[in-house]
């Protein structure tokens, strides 16, 4: 089954996720959607990192009772775990700020809820 999926599918998927996230940032005005855009960008970058470490036909990088074959690279998996943790705290902070903006301004449209311009 695995040989029918071209090898580049994860990279294409990561590029699509980054593209969708960029589209959300550039054109959507709702602040909650912008926060979702950051989450999707982070997912795209995480997928890109994991896909970099894959070796065809590889096994998990664990040294106990290892089957035969090459191992996938463990370093990108460590980078991705760190990035997931950082993204969780960033999203939590952003959502708290959106909540306060709604409490003060009553509106979470990026154009209507701004006070600072010029």
């Amino acid at each position: 089954m695995m040989q029918y999926i071209p090898f580049n599918i994860p990279f294409v998927a990561a590029a699509l996720l980054v593209g969708v996230a960029l589209f959300i940032f550039l054109f959507k005005r709702n602040l909650i959607k912008i926060v979702m855009g950051v989450a999707i960008l982070s997912s795209g970058v995480n997928l890109f990192l994991i896909a970099l470490g894959y070796r065809a036909g590889g096994v998990a990088p664990i040294y106990t009772a290892t089957p035969e074959g090459v191992m996938v690279l463990p370093v990108p998996q460590a980078l991705t775990l760190t990035n997931i943790v950082i993204t969780v705290s960033v999203i939590a902070l952003m959502l708290t700020m959106v909540m306060y903006i709604y409490r003060h301004m009553g509106d979470i449209d990026a154009k209507k809820s701004r006070l600072l311009k010029g």
Partner: protein, 522 residues
Amino acid sequence: MEYLTVHSPILIVAIPLLAAFIIPLLSRLGSKVRDTFNVSLLGFVTFLVAILAIDIYANGARIYTLGASVPELARPEGYMVPVRIMFQVDGISIFMGLTITVVALAALVYSLQFVKNETGQDRFYSLFMLLYVGMIGLVFTGDMFNLFVFLEILSIAGAGLASYRVNLADAVEGGFKYIVISAVSALLVLFAIGILYGQYNLLSIAALANTMQFNTLDMIALAMLAIAFVMKLAGVPLHMWAPDTYAVAPAGITPMIYMSSAASMYALYRVTFTLYGGQFDTMPIGWVVIILGVLSMFIGVMMAIYQTDIKRLMAYHAISQSGYMLLGVGVGLAVLTDPVALANYGRDAMNGGIFHIINNALYKGMLFLTAEAIFFRIGTRDLNKMGGLAHNMKWTTIFFIIGALAISGIPPFNGFASKLLIYESVFRFNPLLSIIAMFVSLVTLASFTKVFYSAFTGPEMPAYREVREVPKSMIIGMGIMVACIIFFSIFPGLVVDTIVAPATDALIDQASYINGVMGAAP
């Protein structure tokens, strides 16, 4: 003392990190215990930075490998590349470390009185220590992924502190813009790190610089890294978040967020000079940095003179002065591969740009603190409503005059010394850039005259008759910076020879950075 010097890179990062988690516990014992703990801890870290600086200026760059049997052991036995997390402190890293520590100490002493009436003070100091850790970690690190992690730490702590006063609507908006900008920039940096890792299977900066071939994927990675860092340091045309965020942050935090931008500038130089420089022609990326610098200078100051909110005006000036630094070091970057031009004016341009970093941190930080001192006593930042404050706030007025003359490049202050270096050397590169820089300096003086007239001179307003001078800890915080400004003004030669010239050498000399890691004997 030998133990402290050898382990100082990790102690400087670890001690404030531990303090950030102890402060909420210690606050249960009362506010005086917490204040004393904060100031003495930061004083001890300043001492550690000082002894590390003395060691580096005497002996050269120092590396610290986490997890090795001896801290100077860069590569494990049998390995050809460094694989462990490493701190590598060379001339430019310790220069930024000294700048950040002085500004953090002044900002902390200033904040002791400023946040006295707010709630949640233990979280304020905790985040302050985390912000300091993020900045110091960013400038000391020796591999790319730690760069990303410390960049995110300082973004999150900075955004949390910028929106500290959640009862004001514009504070939360400024903090929200800052965290979105920082999150997107940091994710683009991680994407570029992923591209570099996928090609070379290396994360350490020295090892990557050794094996870098400049193919198309590397160019895409360089563009993403450079522009993400330019967005974090608020260079035009990516600067529009900076006035919003700098204006609403509480006092003492605005200089720290401004130092985060300076740390991002350090990261830009580290990527362009050390990771990519040396063997490849740096003229295109150098010209990109120069054009961004000139745009920042010009548009920053023309927008600044138009504002009527005192902190927004000063934030636009911070953007404009960052343009000077980008111009000076960009000229050095553009002529990096041309030894004649480098010896003729490139080195002086870089000396001017790097000297301007510490000068600007001192006087810009102090100007932000005086603006917040006015806000502390009056409650508004609008210049239309102020007037005649020099009758009552004499110390603030004197500090403001010193800061305004220094930022405009009036002799004998330190701003004049660094701007003179930049004017003279950039003139030999391209005369038009130098003329634009002089015009910008003129308009800077004009806009600070506007602020001085509106806020300080004039008749004494009846509404402000009971305004007194700010409390003593705030004056001491500003006084630390003024003392440094006066010292740098009277001894510019000493400062340039001791602190700035090793930083320039560390940036230009990529080979010694690589040899510090790859050639280190086990």
